[in-house]
């Protein structure tokens, strides 16, 4: 892992400070799946960030004369049953999908870490916290999300809350498992012997050593959240139309799938690209961050 070993065969950029500071970057860039995933996801991310620049037409501007236009030079991705620009709708849909996915990841990072760390470190809490997560995990993920979203009323906010509630138990489990391993390590014992308090041990010695599996898990959760959000809005439990989301574009377009397949196929492809990109990214991160799987990247 030293600079000397990795340097040969790499372009000159490898010698810059960034790689010296984060040697892991170099290994990530050598991981093919990670690079493909990063490009796919990066593309979707750029589309979402610059949606109003890429697609200047209002996604909700109806133009009955231009209904069901297949992709051409004026409407790059065609128009839907109300003549709305598909490019605008899919780009703005990307914005919402990624925003919800990101919100779910943040909520997972915060609550998953708190619950997982509490369960793994303070053993008294373990049983009760883990039985609650077991109960939540016993439901199929999408079914539970549908239930929560239906109970809270459809909106993009409730979709984010419902999806967080579904995935936080999974994150908490991962964090707990890592905490259980790390808390038994000698350096934790050594820190206790040096008079460190519980909070200090947890924050400084245990959690930083649990980051790798958490980062990988959060990448996958991002992918699941984007996919499940599409499911929720397809079922009418996400952001309400006319706000474009990939799920409700597909839902509205599905009756015209024979005549105007681009209405459903394009958001479907965007969804597939996002999920595939995030999964490849997560696989790459896992291979690089998890020392036990090092062989697989050779």
């Amino acid at each position: 892992m030293t600079a000397a070993v990795d340097a040969p065969g790499l372009p000159a950029v490898a010698k810059t400070g960034l790689f010296k500071r984060w040697p892991i970057l170099r290994r990530l860039l050598r991981h093919k799946a990670f690079v493909i995933g990063a490009v796919l996801f990066g593309f979707i991310l750029l589309v979402a960030l610059f949606a109003d620049w890429i697609a200047p037409i209002d996604p909700n501007r109806i133009s009955i004369r231009n209904r069901f236009k297949p992709p051409d030079l004026t409407h790059w991705l065609g128009t839907d049953n109300l003549g709305r620009s598909q490019l605008s709708r899919v780009a703005y849909g990307a914005r919402l999908s990624l925003a919800i996915g990101f919100a779910v990841v943040v909520l997972n990072a915060v609550f998953g870490v708190i619950l997982g760390a509490a369960a793994g470190y303070f053993r008294r809490l373990d049983n009760i916290l883990m039985r609650i997560t077991d109960a939540l995990m016993a439901f199929p993920a999408v079914l539970l999300a549908i239930g929560i979203a239906a109970a809270l009323g459809p909106s993009s906010m409730t979709a984010a809350i419902a999806l967080s509630a579904v995935y936080i138990p999974r994150t908490a489990r991962i964090v707990r498992a890592s905490v259980l391993v790390v808390r038994e390590m000698e350096f934790v014992q050594a820190a206790i012997a040096m008079g460190a308090s519980h909070l200090r041990i947890l924050g400084k010695h245990v959690l930083p050593n649990c980051l790798a599996p958490l980062i990988v898990q959060l990448t996958f959760i991002f992918a699941y959240a984007v996919l499940s959000e599409a499911v929720l809005s397809f079922l009418g439990l996400g952001a309400a139309p006319p706000t474009p989301t990939w799920g409700n574009i597909i839902a509205e377009g599905r009756q015209y799938i024979r005549e105007a397949a681009w209405i459903t196929v394009i958001p479907g492809m965007a969804l597939a690209a996002t999920v595939l990109g995030l999964n490849l990214l997560g696989d790459g991160l896992r291979d690089v961050l998890d020392p036990r799987l090092k062989i697989s990247q050779a």
Partner: protein, 335 residues
Amino acid sequence: MGTPNSAQLLSVRDLRVEFEYESGAAPAVDGVSFDLAPGEVLGIVGESGSGKSVTALSIMGLLPTPPGRVAGGTILFEGEDLLPKSPAAMRHIRGKRISMIFQEPMTSLNPVFTIGDQVMETVIYHERVGRRAARDRALEMLEKVGIPSPRARLEEYPHQLSGGMRQRIMIAIALACTPALLLADEPTTALDVTIQAQILELLRSLQDEFKMAVVLITHDLGVVAEFVDRVAVMYAGRIVETADVAGVFERPQHPYTEGLLASIPSLDTEQTRLTAIPGVVPSPFELPAGCRFAPRCRHARPPCTTIIPPLLPRGAGHGAACIRHVDYRTEGLKS
């Protein structure tokens, strides 16, 4: 050995530690008493499972509870009993007045922080000094423990150092707040023999410089001979013999100590087989009544299996827990 001696730095009296499992309570330490003067070095010697590490962990208040439990006794440190102290009060003693170093230097440092961070952490926590002052202290400590180019090492991560270097760092961390007592639990066991000698030499010189007391826990009599002033030999949770180093090596008064000494291969004689004490340490669940060494002792006689032998004085500062210590030596001559 009745009342604790508050004139000593550390005075352990009748310490009893049990481990409670579903199958019953296992006494890991059973009535251990010893004193330690300021600046004195005591070696606790024994096989695995003899209770030596548990004794050290009890002093630190680091027994894994449950299943461990201090069932009785007192641990007087600087005149105060440590056992009833609150966790918060113990945190202020640990690392500041009593420090501990462990067997495994490879895993005793946090892999995600620099050496400097980890040495500074204890100083900042216990002495409430700023980062700059803590850094100066860390640098000074790294120099003291013989780390080459200490300034550069402060920025390095544990994986960049060898085992011996890491143990030096551990010692630097342990001594950064100049504790009065250092507990060293097999500090050289995981190291190469040449490195072992260096670490022991370093501990000896630092002990001299800081005038601190050291409890060295080991199963290696060679380490004991080089380093300590006084020895306590433990067997199955009890101290069976205590004496100064010369006393233990030249005039052992307990058959177990004799057995341990006999099992060290000698350079002077040609040996084909290593001498061993027959049998194994009894399980803490099935401890024999009377003397716990009796089942393995070739000198055992009927009273040995019924009477618990007290630690009887055998000359100045020498004690042995064997009821037959007077006659077993002459027995071979008679028969």
